[in-house]
């Protein structure tokens, strides 16, 4: 049975909306409006040279059948290669960042001389703009002048220099490497904050119980820091999905390493094709939304599992 809301609640609800309003307006201006705009353009044949009068062409930017041949984004092998590249990049770089970042967080969580300094130093890569770190890594990985080839040749690991950023088999790894180097501190920082909220006596209890360090990590540390880890992984995954700067600086428009964002830039700027570029942007948005939904669903499922047991 629905009962009428007492009058003072109306006032409270009104005040609540009043407080939320500024944020809603800003969000509508900077997020909803561009998104709707993009969605609209993705259904037109707009060109960058002339945005004044695009005509509506339905879903033809996505998929089109003209009687004897399929066309559109969803049939483009370059698009699908970009999607695969992006997903591969996301999976590999985020996994490596989680392992390395968590590892560093565990080390920095321990008391040792110079810990404060080590914490600051470990943050440096994250403070460097991605374009700058991409350039640094490009130089270090340079075929002829790079320090990495030089080092590997001196210790005798390789005989001839390797063009890390140009060779298809290593180009993506070079990008992953630069990305991991630049963003593991983010995970380390988040996980360090999470570790510091864990009560020390839990670990002492485990020590009294004689639990091995590995078991302590998997049975105590990991479950208790899982909420922070999920947040960190969602953040990093969404970041990795729209990776652009590193790829663009390190290997340009090479289709072997092209990610969705590089693909979109190519359509929008180089090809002046606002319609297809917007369609690709919408698909990227949908992929991102799926990642968040999946992550939140598994989290909620796990939570309800815990509550039931």
């Amino acid at each position: 049975m629905k009962t009428a809301m007492p009058p003072q609640n109306y006032a409270r609800v009104k005040t609540a909306w009043l407080f939320i309003a500024p944020m809603l307006i800003v969000l509508a201006a900077v997020a909803a409006w561009p998104l709707l705009n993009t969605a609209y353009y993705s259904l037109t044949n707009a060109r960058l040279s002339d945005l004044s009068d695009p005509s509506f062409i339905g879903l033809r930017n996505y998929l089109n059948y003209n009687g004897y041949r399929w066309s559109g984004l969803l049939t483009s092998p370059i698009w699908w290669k970009a999607v695969l590249n992006t997903l591969w990049f996301m999976a590999v770089s985020v996994s490596l960042e989680v392992v390395i970042g968590f590892g560093v967080a565990l080390v920095l969580h321990h008391q040792f001389p110079g810990r404060g300094l080590a914490r600051v130093i470990s943050l440096i890569p994250w403070a460097i703009p991605a374009v700058v770190s991409a350039q640094i890594w490009s130089w270090m990985l340079h075929e002829q002048f790079g320090i990495i080839n030089d080092f590997l040749m001196v210790i005798g690991a390789i005989e001839t220099p390797i063009a890390w950023a140009a060779k298809p088999s290593t180009a993506m790894w070079a990008i992953v490497f630069a990305d991991v180097w630049g963003t593991f501190p983010f995970i380390a920082l988040l996980m360090l904050a999470a570790l510091q909220t864990l009560p020390a006596d839990l670990y002492e209890a485990a020590k009294i119980d004689g639990i091995s360090p590995i078991k302590v990590f998997f049975k105590i540390t990991l479950p208790l820091t899982m909420p922070a880890l999920v947040v960190a992984v969602i953040f990093r995954s969404l970041d990795a999905l729209r990776i652009f700067d590193l790829v663009y600086v390190m290997s340009g428009r090479n289709p072997q390493t092209m990610t969705i964002s590089v693909f979109i830039r190519q359509r929008l700027v180089d090809f002046q094709d606002i319609g297809t570029g917007s369609a690709a942007s919408m698909l990227l948005f949908i992929i991102g939304a799926l990642v968040v939904i999946i992550a939140l669903l598994t989290r909620t499922l796990r939570l309800s599992e815990v509550n039931e047991s």
């Binding site: 002492e204 209890a205 009294i208 208790l224 815990v306 047991s309």
Partner: protein, 361 residues
């Protein structure tokens, strides 16, 4: 069952000397309470016994064997934490079983041991709950259960009851006393609460500023404190302390002037000389109020407890005296009356060294 020997134990935190030469012998099956104000080193000592903390000098022996290099698990100890330290994401069962899962026990064995302990602590219905779904007392019992399940040779308790409310505290105190009777394991119990120390201990160790002040059975400490600290730390309300001066040495004691009266007290004349300052300690229950020759004092506050009462007096010389009496108080605030004391029931301390003065028997 194990007996513990702590010899000349020293612990430093940087420049700070937390424990300066502790000597304690703990017999097997004994319940020893380490008691003292916060910062006295009692918890540090417990953590050293447990193996969570190392030490910088002296010896720690379990049944005569050095344990300094042994990790907590190999010492056969169990520790109940003040904060309970239950794993928040594990059920009661998992919390209790976690310490066993690493050792030689089979699944069925673990299950039967946990359920046996759970039954003895009235936790059977709660085995599937998470710690956050339990009350404070229940969590405390789970923490104790987790310790018992491992069948330790030495039980260590670190202020286990200080997070509980008063009613629950005295109930859990009883349960721990019963537990000790059942298991008859060696137990070391840390508390700052003198009532817990008095009621639970076979032997009390009073600590202060990193040193042991006195070791003994509760009533021995209560009746014969070796110094002012022990005298005032044990007993509630605190022992009254009045300052006096020796005015005359006599063969049957000395004459002491204090709180406006002059009294012959049984202090040995060899220990003091004329003009020495002496502290007179008298327990609130050893003072009577009423007619007779005594310290003239005014009633400031009367606290009625039902079965007994406390009267807070202020003597003419400005010293405050608490008197504990049975039943309800006949005294009225503002009355002037006389506090009568029996010199043979008083405690006497050197005002400089704060050590107890020898008394003629």
């Amino acid at each position: 069952m194990v007996n513990l020997s702590i010899r000349n134990l020293v612990k430093q935190f940087g420049q700070y000397q937390a424990l300066n030469g502790i000597n304690i012998e703990i017999d097997h099956g004994e319940l020893v309470v380490l008691v003292g104000p916060s910062g006295c080193g009692k918890s540090t000592l417990l953590r050293i016994i447990s193996g969570l903390e190392g030490f910088d000098g002296g010896e720690l022996l379990f049944d005569g064997a050095q344990v300094v290099t042994k990790p907590p698990k190999e010492r056969g100890i169990a520790l109940v934490f003040q904060s309970y330290a239950l794993y928040p994401h594990m059920t009661v069962f998992q919390n209790m079983a976690f310490g066993l899962s690493n050792s030689r026990f089979s699944k069925a064995d673990i299950r039967s041991r946990v359920s046996k302990v759970a039954r003895s602590l009235a936790l059977e219905g709660l085995l599937d709950r998470l710690p956050k779904q339990l009350s404070g007392g229940q969590r405390q019992r789970v923490a104790i259960g987790r310790a018992i399940v491992r069948e330790p040779k030495v039980f260590l308790f670190d202020e286990p009851l200080s997070n509980l409310d008063a009613a629950l505290r005295s109930q859990m105190r009883l349960e721990i006393a019963k537990l000790h009777q059942q298991l008859s394991t060696t137990m070391v119990y840390v508390t700052h609460d003198q009532a817990e120390a008095m009621t639970l201990a076979d032997k009390i160790v009073v600590m202060n500023k990193g040193s042991v002040e006195q070791i003994g059975r509760p009533l021995d400490l209560y009746k014969k404190p070796v110094n002012l600290f022990v005298a005032t730390f044990l007993g509630s309300p605190r022992m009254n302390i009045l300052e006096g001066v020796v005015s005359e040495l006599r063969p049957d004691g000395v004459t002491l002037d204090f709180a406006g009266i002059s009294k012959l007290v049984p202090i040995s004349g060899e220990a003091v000389k004329q003009g020495d300052r002496v502290l007179v300690g008298l327990r609130p229950e050893d003072v009577t109020v009423g007619e007779g020759v005594g310290i003239s004092a005014k009633v400031e506050i009367v606290e009625e407890m039902g079965d007994h009462h406390l009267t807070y007096l202020s003597s003419i010389s400005g010293q405050s005296i608490v008197v504990k009496g049975a039943g309800t108080s006949p005294n009225v605030v503002g009355d002037t009356l006389s506090a009568v004391l029996d010199p043979s029931r008083c405690h006497y301390f050197d005002s400089r060294t704060e050590l107890a003065l020898p008394v003629l028997s």
